[in-house]
């Protein structure tokens, strides 16, 4: 039977578990960052941040999301610092009084990947010609469709190719998911997609070096993917930890951090190239 004694044993157990939870919460200097999925999914932050915490004594927590949401979290003062990759949006962000300092840290580049058979014949074309060919042939193009930094860049590419965003076209698939998930959709649907090179290398790594999707278009200046640390404007967010955010920004630009970024490799390939100013 369900006895009163047993119930009280259960209740005591629950209380203990909750107290254990409270006791786990730490103290000390801490910084909250919003960043993009690419820095997190590739494993770069897992590699880098323990060094930052050891050298500065600041505990850094981060939430990985699209650049669009990361900027919004900063605007609402829910985080202290941002690591994002959408330069035009970042500059507007500072102009609108949400961001204070922007410091470029590293870059990689965007590439168009697709099936090795390349049904739209875009291999070696420049980016605008490639997109035009995909549209003309009605081949599947898989888009993030989530207003992330990568998605913002992709929309810009359609625009600069003179093609209105193919939002309603049957061949244009918007996943609303992260980069690796989107690459996996492209693989399943045998379609094209645009990705940052770091995530593509990660995907290659997962496929054991036999990835069905391969790089078809690369090298255009417009495909540069610049990452930057943004501090928040104390006027908009007086409670955000501006000084600690500045420490993080300086640390990311320091020689030792830049060297670590440069040494971070998968399958022997660099994922990010440091270029702090």
């Amino acid at each position: 039977m369900l006895t009163k004694k047993r119930v009280s044993v259960l209740a005591a157990g629950l209380c203990l578990m909750m107290m254990a939870g409270v006791a786990l919460a730490g103290s000390g200097k801490s910084l909250m960052m919003a960043t993009t999925t690419s820095t997190d999914n590739t494993g770069l932050l897992d590699e880098l941040i323990p060094h930052f915490e050891k050298e500065t004594g600041i505990a850094l927590k981060w939430t990985a999301t699209g650049t669009g949401k990361a900027l919004k979290l900063g605007q609402n003062c829910d985080v202290d610092v941002l690591l994002v990759h959408a330069p035009p949006a970042e500059k507007a962000y500072i102009k609108n009084g949400f961001g204070k300092d922007r410091r470029q840290i590293m870059y990689n580049d965007f590439v168009i990947i697709g099936p090795k058979a390349d049904p739209a014949g875009i291999t070696g074309k420049d980016i605008s010609a490639a997109l035009t060919a995909i549209k003309a042939r009605g081949e599947r193009f898989i888009s993030r469709g989530d207003d992330s930094g990568t998605n913002k860049k992709e929309k810009l590419l359609w625009k600069s190719a003179g093609i209105p965003l193919p939002d309603q076209e049957a061949w244009y698939v918007q996943t609303g998911q992260g980069m690796l998930a989107t690459i996996n959709v492209a693989q399943e649907k045998k379609g094209y997609t645009m990705t940052d090179r770091g995530t593509y290398i990660k995907y290659q790594d997962q496929q054991g070096g036999h990835a069905p999707l391969t790089v078809l278009v690369e090298g255009d200046a417009i495909l540069l993917n610049q990452y930057a640390v943004l501090t928040l404007d104390p006027k908009n967010c007086p409670h955000a930890k501006y000084e600690l955010a500045k420490t993080f920004s300086d640390w990311m630009a320091s020689d030792s951090a830049q060297k670590k970024i440069s040494e971070f490799r998968l399958l022997g390939q660099k994922l990010f190239i440091p270029n702090a100013n």
Partner: protein, 228 residues
């Protein structure tokens, strides 16, 4: 297909290994779900009792509202809580965003209507004679509440198990309010979402197995409560 099998193997490995990130996710999951269940039971049982026991105007309408809330989308609860505890929100000063407590608050909102609705249904089904007997024995209001709840304890257990299942498996609130921060607010479900997003399907399956093991442990201990 092969990731299903390797997922199961990996899951068993995670359960017996001391993988720090898995255990921290187990911890966050247990903390959030335990706290939210405690709150939702404390609030939901009396509300369910009142709703099932007493007749009052608009009772039917209120029941409909509670029943509708059973279909609360978790992401919307997440957005609601976010709006309240964001540093621009009314409770921003309490620093609840990106904490396990924040997740627990959202999950309590999710579980409350489940506990309330099921409790009300069970109380309604109590033999009307019980009430008469209690009143004729001179029982006070407090005693009636306690006795009725005690009489339907197994039904209440069912309400708790149902609500716990929903709380344990939700991902929308944990993701939106917790932020999926490694070693802090990453729960099993947000870890599954992350691994799946990363294309690590086997790891997703493995973590799913870990979650099912927690659910099994909870249900086994509840079965122990019912044992003679």
């Amino acid at each position: 297909m092969d990731y299903l099998i390797s997922g199961f193997v990996k899951g068993l490995g995670l359960l017996i290994s001391k993988d720090a990130s898995t255990w921290s996710a187990v911890g966050a999951t247990l903390q959030a779900s335990t706290a939210s269940m405690a709150v939702s039971l404390a609030a939901g049982l009396p509300c369910g009792f009142l709703l099932g026991y007493y007749d009052f105007p608009w009772k039917r309408a209120l029941r409909t509202v509670v029943d509708t809330l059973l279909a609360l989308p978790t992401v919307c609860v997440g957005l609601l809580i976010y709006a309240l505890i964001s540093s621009r929100g009314p409770f921003g000063a309490y620093d609840l965003l990106f904490t396990v407590s924040g997740i627990a608050a959202g999950q309590a909102i999710l579980a409350f209507p489940i506990v309330t609705a099921i409790t009300a249904s069970i109380i309604e089904s109590i033999d009307a004679n019980l009430k008469l007997t209690l009143v004729s024995l001179g029982a006070g209001k407090k005693d009636i509440l306690a006795t009725c709840l005690w009489e339907v304890r197994y039904g209440i257990l069912a309400a708790a198990v149902t609500a716990y299942g929903r709380v344990l498996t939700e991902v929308g609130i944990s993701m939106m309010v917790g932020g999926n921060i490694k070693y802090h607010t990453r729960t099993i479900t947000t870890a599954i979402a992350l691994e799946t997003n990363k294309g690590m399907f086997a790891d997703g399956i493995a973590l799913g197995l870990v979650l099912m093991t927690i659910a099994l442990a909870v249900n086994v201990s509840l079965a122990f409560l019912r044992k003679r």
